[in-house]
Amino acid sequence: MILSKTNRISLHKVSKFFRLVLPAESQNICRHVHFKYYPDTTSKIKGETKEMNMFQAINNALHLYMEKDETSIMFGEDVEFGGVFRCSMGLKDRFGSRIFNTPLCEQGIAGFGIGAAANDVTAIAEIQFADYIFPAFDQLVNEAAKYRYRSGDQFNCGKLTVRAPCGAVGHGGLYHSQSPEAFFAHAPGLRVVIPRGPIQAKGLLLSSIEVEDPTIFFEPKILYRTASEQVPVEYYKLPLEKAEIVREGTDITLIAWGTQVHVLLEVADMAKEKLGVSCEVIDLRSILPWDIETICKSVVKTGRAVVSHEAPLTQGFGAEIAATIQEECFLNLEAPVARVTGWDTPFPYIHEKHYLPDKYRCFFAVEDTIKY
């Protein structure tokens, strides 16, 4: 998108100016990080590990996959030089013409990927920001999602994976911060997956690429560099359609995905300390199809639930989860299911920290739900 490019150029200039004039502290305010990262220590994958942040883990997954599948391709805007977030670093040198820049056109990228996948090529497309996936909405919802169904399984584009950086980043404003997963969660035929850190990103991305359904893989971009942990170096996959209980608890179930899982982990610590409440924290991981069983089992046990996501409240995926919990766990519920989300506004620039469902807002929801 032209606007994002323009933005980048101007930010580039602005940053240079700021560095000269403003004290370092001001820049830190500008790079506000709203959460504390909880490394994934429960990984059961055996073998050698290496410290990687999330962009490196994604890069590692792409290297491993492209090495394994000699016909696979990766393409998008600016992927050849390593990508604007460095996720495709080194791929061009290693895999040559299988990695390529496309013209700046998201509907073209998605359509091209669908066609390649429909003709039996593993196609890994990159949309530079999830905010710019909407021009490809028609291709993804009307075409990719329905390809197998409408042809009576004669054709499919299961070999398509669309990667897109999503979520808040501190200062992304309206068009570098969005979390559009709920738009796609309403499209039968698509898979939507969001990891919470490097180990998850690598395993879930490899599963997303391998699964025989078109998959949108949203990468919370604030984690690219802030999240770092010991990632297994071998090829491994993590299951789709499967939520993960990140922390076990007995009093209340907290559900989130992406960066927000870390916010809820901190909330769980706060709840333990200040209220003596034991929180079960669940990372949903797959938005569509989603793991109803794990969520509902947990709520049957705890009797209370809080769902949290960065995207706006109305019609956010939290609504689907809350409705399902209400339907499946009605007799077990001790309090209404709370939703703590972004406000029903566009994602604001200067008020980002007042927009996000931060740990305090989530904590208050836990407190209210427990005291209901």
Binding site: F81, G111, F112, I114, A118, S151, F155
Partner: protein
């Protein structure tokens, strides 16, 4: 914003790439400077001629191929007439005829290899027929019965055949164009001497996906033959409300695409142009654009009455240019076909179509259980739950209605 953190690193990478690799950056300065203030307008756009060869009476293609092409055009026409009637009688829900555009379809299809992949819009039944899709296949799809290859899931006329390398049609216009470019990737890599043929109307060419596809095919260099059926109307919208430039052909060179405008009612022109386009595309791994000028003689669809927005006189005028009639007189002129042969062929073909309709109509419909299959490669938990829900509903409804 990320540039704030990696600026110097990126700069280093970028300069390495620009210096280390041969990247051909096309510069605007490759054109000559001019001190006169001149803006380009459509008059600078050279008049694009329409390629037309029937006028020369020389027999350009093999006579048996010509007869086969004629029979295919006539077959499409006969099937259209009968299925159109079926819709009018309420036996199928919807239909779209190919009247007037049979030559675009058969002429181009005959020039393609059966291994070439086809992406179509919806008014290209002739291409499928040429490849071997039978009347039964067409009719089963329109009736959505249990023999329909699409399992009764799409509206009539949304044909597709994996076996015949014809990707299943979908209603959203132009979405197939960038997909056609993507599908060409494997052909290019495997170096199979095949191409992708991609059909669309002049209305569809106004969609953003057309721009995407032309640009992707040209910049990434893929063997795609774009075939535009410029039939003067997109439903009620005449082409003068669709574009102000010189048709679709004028756009090709702007994208760096080799382009030709062809008389779409002249099957020999379509055949020769497509044959050359195919050869060029496969040998050079580059796209080609063919704009086939024709006229949509029939209504847009069975849900449309075109007399509301165009004159009968106009339709009649173009009926005179009927491609089937033209080829028939050409064949007669070369003594390859006569009226009695024609009568017999029509009679026999109509019989085949009627029989296929009769059988298709009496076939059972696909099971309701099939609603839930093929949404994904496997049935996920939430969908299988809904499948069970429908089964329970039937059981309960039967109890309510039948008292069982």
């Amino acid at each position: 914003m990320y540039i704030m953190c990696f600026r110097s690193y990126l700069n280093k990478c970028t300069s390495q790439i620009l210096m280390g690799r041969k990247i051909n950056i096309r510069k605007f300065s490759s054109s000559e400077p001019d001190t006169a203030l001149k803006f380009l307008d459509s008059s600078h756009n050279e008049k694009i001629p329409t390629y037309q060869i029937t006028a020369s009476s020389k027999l350009l293609v093999d006579s048996s191929l010509l007869i086969k092409m004629y029979q295919a055009m006539l077959s499409v026409n006969l099937m259209d007439k009968l299925l159109y009637e079926c819709q009018r009688q309420g036996r199928i829900s919807f239909y779209m005829t190919n009247f007037g555009e049979e030559a675009v379809q058969i002429g181009s299809a005959a020039a393609l290899s059966d291994k070439d992949l086809v992406f179509a819009q919806y008014r290209e039944s002739g291409v499928l027929l040429w490849r071997g899709f039978t009347f039964t296949d067409f009719i089963n799809q329109c009736f959505g019965n249990d023999k329909d290859i699409n399992k009764g899931r799409q509206m009539p006329v949304h044909y597709g055949s994996k076996e015949l390398n014809f990707f299943t049609i979908s209603s959203p216009l132009t979405t197939q164009l960038p997909q056609a470019v993507g599908a060409a990737h494997k052909l290019k890599i495997a170096n199979t001497n095949t191409c992708v043929a991609c059909y669309f109307g002049e209305g569809a060419a106004s969609e953003g996906d057309a721009h995407a596809a032309f640009n992707f095919a040209a910049t990434l260099s893929y063997p795609v033959v774009f075939i535009c059926r410029n039939n003067a109307y997109a439903i009620s919208t005449p082409s003068c409300q669709q574009y102000a430039g010189n048709g679709i052909a004028a756009r090709g060179p702007a994208f760096g695409i080799k382009t030709i405008r062809v008389d779409g009612n002249d099957i020999l022109s379509m055949y020769q142009a497509t044959k050359f386009a195919r050869k060029y595309a496969t040998e050079n791994c580059k796209p080609v654009l063919i704009e086939a000028m024709t006229y949509r003689v029939g209504h847009h669809s069975t849900s449309d009455d075109s007399t509301i927005y165009r004159d009968d006189a106009e339709i009649e005028k173009y009926q005179q240019l009927d491609p089937i009639r033209s080829l028939k007189s050409y064949l007669k002129q070369h003594k390859l076909w006569d009226e009695s042969q024609n009568e017999l062929f029509i009679k026999a073909t109509n019989k085949k179509i009627m029989e296929a309709i009769k059988v298709a109509e009496n076939d059972s419909l696909p099971s309701q259980d099939d609603i839930f299959n093929n949404v994904y490669s496997t049935i996920p938990f939430h969908i299988s739950k809904q499948q069970v829900g429908l089964q329970k509903y039937f059981k309960r409804r039967n109890q309510l209605v039948d008292g069982k």
